[in-house]
């Protein structure tokens, strides 16, 4: 070993037995070096003679400084390696707090990881904590993850009574329509997920629980429709309506429908289901019940919008934009 480099104090020592270079040795060496600042020295005790060539070669490729080797105990070598300048700062304190602004170059690095400099920028567009991540998001995620339900176990499928054929047909149509809408409810918020910077991973994870919930809705509605023997017809009106969800927001969806006079919902099937039979008097009651349902949904939407912080008139306006679309 180079005499003027003594005395060198190794910050870490590894006993690698007689592990050859390609048999897991780097699993010991890499982390030991990664824990040190540039220039920090690792001593490696090894009985593998081939290491005298493989280790310096690897060090040159990685720009670590191979300082040489001395005899250690018995026939073994003591290699000294100083950590090179590449690979970024190490030993930075882990910070688990959500940053005010996500760094595009930290990519999918989990929050708190040390990030090597030189990484490419990722195209996340939701980058600022104030607009993306409410402080209670971690708690919301834990609640949502803990409160999931099972289509298989939580719906008493065997207790669903058989219905007259006309009603089963209507159930199938309504369920098919609902499944179509729930599929859009799965796809539309999914588009936000890849925009959220992973520094706010809890937001993306919470969104994932929402997506899993929408997936269960699809599953449940399709299963019920299959029991009815039909998924009904997926209409062009509904197709147009849902496409606008992919392409723009609620306002545009309402505008698209405004000119058509169409309500993209299987209204007649819902009326029939509310009536419970094809008897004309019952159908009249069913039509009343359907109108009541629309009003109830409108009021419920306003309530939810107001509790989310919208002013009364804003909440009413937003809800009315939904009303013609039924869902």
């Amino acid at each position: 070993m180079d005499g003027d480099r003594r005395p060198l104090v190794a910050a870490a020592a590894i006993d690698a037995g007689s592990l050859p270079f390609g048999s897991g040795l780097l699993a010991l060496v890499r982390p030991a070096l990664a824990r040190l600042p540039a220039g920090g020295v690792v001593a490696l005790i090894s009985g593998s003679a081939a290491l005298r060539e493989d280790l310096p070669r690897w060090c040159r490729i990685e720009h670590h400084d191979y300082l040489g080797c001395d005899p250690a105990d018995g026939a073994r070598d003591r290699h000294l390696v100083a950590r090179g300048p590449l690979g970024g700062e190490s030993g930075a304190a882990l910070d688990d707090a959500m940053p005010a602004l996500g760094d595009p170059r930290s990519g999918f690095a989990p929050r708190g990881a040390r990030v090597e400099p030189g990484a490419p920028a990722y195209p996340f567009t939701l980058l600022d904590r104030e607009h993306v991540a409410p402080p209670e998001i971690a708690d919301l995620y834990r609640q949502a993850a803990g409160a999931s339900w099972s289509v298989e176990q939580d719906i008493p499928w065997q207790r669903i009574p058989p219905l007259p054929d006309a009603l089963e047909q209507a159930v199938g149509q309504v369920m098919g329509f609902l499944a179509q809408n729930e599929l859009s409810a799965l796809y539309v918020p999914a588009r936000f997920l890849p925009r959220v910077h992973p520094a706010y991973a809890e937001v993306a994870m919470f969104l994932a629980t929402q997506l899993a919930d929408e997936a269960r809705h699809v599953d449940a509605f399709v299963r019920r429709a299959r029991r009815a023997g039909t998924l009904g017809v997926a209409t062009v009106t509904t197709a147009h309506s849902l496409l606008t969800l992919l392409e723009a927001a609620v306002r545009r969806r309402a505008a698209t429908l405004a000119g058509t006079g169409g309500v993209p919902a299987p209204v007649q099937d819902l009326v029939l289901l509310a009536a419970g039979s094809t008897d004309p008097a019952a159908l009249e009651r069913g039509a009343d019940a359907f109108r009541t349902l629309l009003e109830t949904m409108h009021e419920a939407r306003i309530r939810r919008l107001r509790s989310a912080g919208f002013a009364a008139d804003q909440a009413a306006r937003l809800s009315e934009l939904h009303t013609p679309n039924f869902m």
């Binding site: 390609g22 780097l26 060539e53 493989d54 720009h63």
Partner: protein, 269 residues
Amino acid sequence: MNPESLLVGAVAYDPKVVTVWEGIRDVLHDDGVAMDFALYSNYERLVHELLAGHVDIAWSTPLAHVRIQKATENRSLSLGMRDSDRDFHAKIVVRKDAGIRALRDLEGRRLAVGSRDSTQARILPLYFLGEAGVDVSRVEIVAFDSDVGKHGDTGRSELDVLRALHEGSVAAGAVGDYVWVIESAAGRIDASQLEVLWTTPGFDHCMFDALPSLDSQRADRFKTALLAMRWDDPRHRRILELEGLKQWMPAREPGYDSLRAALDASNGW
């Protein structure tokens, strides 16, 4: 098209070469050096195009480098190399069950080597074995002539050698130490079956070559821009990773003497 633009020729040994050179062009452009590139399918063509003056600079394998120097009577300009081009070695790897204890034991045995134009997996290991006293004519050479014309750039023939060793169809094989260490680090070498018998003396690898007629200021601007590329700069990192280096280095010449001697000895020019 900028008439001042430097035209760099390289060999398209892999689709990533396009990404590398698009990237280098952009980096140099940011540094005020106008550059474009032309890709060829093999190094013989690239050498020809440089000597004919169709490109200003060639990104050369060691074999292309020494051929350019010979053709220009050593007046060509060497502009720079990768850190990873310095102090290359070749490894003679043997199967542990082959009973090969010394270099002379290779005589009469099957030795896998890479492509005939691979400096590190064929030309120099066979030359150095001869220099070390092995009668190479008595060694049964099993050649993997894949990607001929690419001068071993793809590393495919070296991986073929390692596969033959693992399968046991040969007793020994020659590979570059870069492939050996990278494959070992990736856990793809079975150390219970294979071990290194011998490591050759060192030699150097790729080089940027230019004709002596290249204007020295233009050459200097190119060199300066290359040397300024940094591993921890996001604009440079991807290019450096794809091209297999962490830092560009100034040129140096002694590392090619053994290759010249090997080509002299084998009429390999």
